[in-house]
């Protein structure tokens, strides 16, 4: 998963703080609310459409917030705040160029095809366009990955709770798993979506005070930049683009081509347009206009997220102090474990503790817990859908009554959570497994984007082309990952095209090459095989489909208008922080 971070590997075993009675009340209120929602929503979740796609009745706002929230897990929040401390404002690229263009492209260009094909999932679209081979490959890899990621989230939450509050790991794993299993099993995607929107509000309520109070303490943005420059001895930490001319010129060791073509064009498009975990949220929209607007609304909110993730990391470079008043220096996880210092990924909890007393601390911790639980729920609800529709319904029991599939959806949720718990304990025994699980996501996402985008935009792409292109892209991605793992820095220099490249650059270039291999193989094989007639591509491919009007009457109702507004703000922000 391109946006995930290996948080758990870097946290210390020492406890940072304690919760007061008020904090416990705030945390308990959240658990009561999510369980109530699960039981309440169950009454309206009887058909497969209701269970797996929330009845396709979500408004653009709800689908949009859920869409952006599904990616706003605590693993990402803590990891990217740590990255902002480590690499400076460059980490913002993962929220702006690494998200906004792809989200707008999904809404305006791709969503009509996903929506009017009435597919239940991304593998389902592949089946309609490329047949069973491509669907099977995508469904099995996605199902496997999501369930592992759910376990990673579960374990990460348990370790954070142990690190910050001293809670027992097993207690945290089981409390989180049982709560999520209950509310997803009862309410399906609808329950998951409601909780994701709640989590989005909670994360802002719990984390927004950090940048507000931090900027007050630092004396404003200009003073903050001056203090960072003084403390780290460089101006590079507060510029988005001006340091990316060379691999050596910036703390991340990455070139602008990697950011623009690797992250901006491939990794983010792969993730935001083909990862079913996020696309499923938009498929729940009530009509075509809502489906197109949802990613645009999501993009607008996504642009604001660096305020609560990146700014705290930057603030820590200026204001985070030791008890004796000296500047605190955070270090990599392995160093932290050896020296007893705090690790990069602890920056968000440290800043929370710095400004938040009883009550506010509980709110911040609840936001983190909500983020972890939402991450588990998102993964397990997507798993349940893909398992039931694209594996069980496609290959094991094809013509069962609708009720049977709903029942299978509920059972697969429970079984999925049990497998996740097993994964969590597996990760607990061997922490490096988590890094591999996260890397596994990146194996499939970029080639999948190549297959889906050619399927949607090129009529000539054939069933054989889609399957072999996806397979070749995936295998080449795994091969490049293995090559770098075994070959070290020399191999990295070949993949990223520079001896100065840092590990962060490897993901970007590997994504770029595996996408290109997928596209080339798809094109070559397609040209050698027989295409489908246009009549079989209606509703699936640009040029063979009459896209229905989305119902927008005025300028302000048009998704393309709001996509333009978001684009202008996006460009303006990049220039402002150039």
């Amino acid at each position: 998963m391109p946006f995930a971070h290996p948080v758990i590997a870097t946290l210390l075993a020492s406890q940072l703080t304690n919760l007061s009675g008020i904090d416990i009340v705030i945390l308990a209120l959240y658990f009561v609310m999510v369980l109530f929602i699960g039981f309440y929503v169950k009454g309206g979740t009887n058909t497969s459409e209701e269970f797996f796609l929330a009845g396709r009745e979500m408004t653009a706002w709800i689908a949009g917030l859920s869409f952006v929230s599904a990616n706003l897990g605590s693993l990402e929040l803590m990891g990217w705040a740590g990255s902002a401390y480590q690499y400076g404002i460059l980490a913002t690229h993962w929220y702006w160029i690494g998200a906004i263009p792809a989200m707008l492209f999904l809404g305006i260009v791709m969503m009509p095809f996903y929506y009017i094909s009435k597919t239940h999932s991304v593998p389902g679209y592949l089946q309609l366009r490329f047949g069973e081979g491509a669907r099977g490959l995508a469904a099995i890899s996605f199902g496997f990955m999501t369930i592992l990621m759910s376990g990673v989230n579960m374990y990460a939450m348990a370790v954070v709770m142990q690190t910050v509050l001293g809670w027992n790991i097993t207690f945290s794993i089981w409390i989180g798993a049982i709560t999520v299993a209950i509310y997803v099993m009862l309410g399906g995607l609808r329950s998951a979506i409601i909780n994701e929107v709640l989590q989005f509000v909670l994360i802002w309520a719990g984390a927004a005070l950090i940048p507000i109070l931090g900027l007050i303490e630092a004396g404003g943005w200009t003073n903050l930049k001056a203090q960072i420059a003084h403390n780290v001895g460089s101006n590079d930490y507060t510029h988005l683009w001006s340091t990316l001319g060379t691999f050596k010129g910036n703390p991340m060791g990455i070139h602008w081509t990697g950011i623009v073509f690797g992250l901006g064009a491939i990794v983010s498009f792969g993730y935001w347009t083909t990862d079913f975990l996020v696309v499923q949220r938009v498929l729940s929209a009530k009509d075509l206009r809502a489906a197109k607007m949802a990613p645009v609304i999501g993009a607008a909110f996504k642009m604001a997220v660096p305020l609560i993730v990146i700014v705290p990391g930057l603030l820590a470079l200026a204001v985070l102090k030791n008890p004796d008043g000296s500047l605190m220096h955070l270090v990599p996880g392995d160093v932290a474990r050896a020296t007893g210092q705090h690790a990069y990924d602890e920056v968000l909890p440290l800043m929370l503790i710095r400004y938040c007393g009883p009550g506010l601390l509980g709110l911040g911790i609840t936001a983190l817990v909500a983020g972890f639980m939402s991450g588990m729920a998102g993964n397990v609800s997507a798993f349940s859908t893909v398992w039931t529709y694209d594996i069980y319904g496609a290959y094991i029991k094809k013509d069962a009554p609708d009720k049977h599939y709903v029942s299978m959806g509920r059972w697969s949720t429970v079984i999925g959570m049990l497998v996740s718990i097993g994964t969590a304990y597996l990760v607990a025994r061997a922490g490096s497994i988590m890094d591999y699980v996260q890397a596994l996501f990146s194996f499939f996402i970029s080639p999948l984007f190549g297959t889906v985008i050619l399927g949607m935009l090129w009529k000539r792409a054939t069933k054989q082309g889609g399957f072999w292109g996806l397979l070749a892209g995936t295998v080449s991605s795994i091969a490049m990952f293995t090559y770098v793992e075994l070959g070290g820095k020399a191999a990295l220099a070949h993949i990223a095209l520079s001896p100065d490249a840092q590990p962060m650059a490897e993901n970007m270039y590997r994504a770029l090459w595996s996408w290109m291999i997928c596209v080339i193989v798809t094109v070559v094989v397609s040209l050698m095989t027989k295409p489908k007639p246009d009549s079989e591509l209606d509703g699936l491919v640009y040029g063979a489909t009459v896209i229905p009007h989305d119902g927008a009457r005025t300028l302000f109702q048009k998704p393309i208008f709001w996509a333009g507004v978001v684009s202008v703000v996006f460009i303006g922000l990049n220039i402002l922080f150039w």
């Binding site: 929107v197 709640l198 007393g357 506010l360």
Partner: protein, 89 residues
């Protein structure tokens, strides 16, 4: 006879209305409002208490818990009332 038919229709319509009202799902925004209101009502008294017993955090003089609690109470109350059951939204 006509009156009796009208009464039956009236009763029937009332039952239908009641069923419709009963089945009207709670708005997601109502849940958001209730949770924020609940948190606001917990945080605001804590903030008031902290005027006389400041917590040992940086910038305690700004009374963040009180102002944040007040903001959440107002935000939560607005959403709870606006999207309350039966409000038609």
């Amino acid at each position: 006879m006509e009156n009796k038919t009208a009464d039956i229709h009236h009763v029937h319509a009332s039952i239908e209305d009641r069923d419709v009202k009963h089945k009207e799902p709670l708005s997601l925004w109502f849940f958001v409002g209730v949770l924020c209101l609940g948190y606001g009502l917990v945080l605001t008294p804590v903030g008031i208490y902290e005027f006389s017993h400041p917590p040992s955090v940086v910038l305690a003089n700004l009374h963040a818990a009180f102002w944040w609690g007040l903001l959440m109470t107002i935000f939560g109350a607005f959403y709870t009332i606006r999207f309350r059951p039966g409000s038609g939204r």
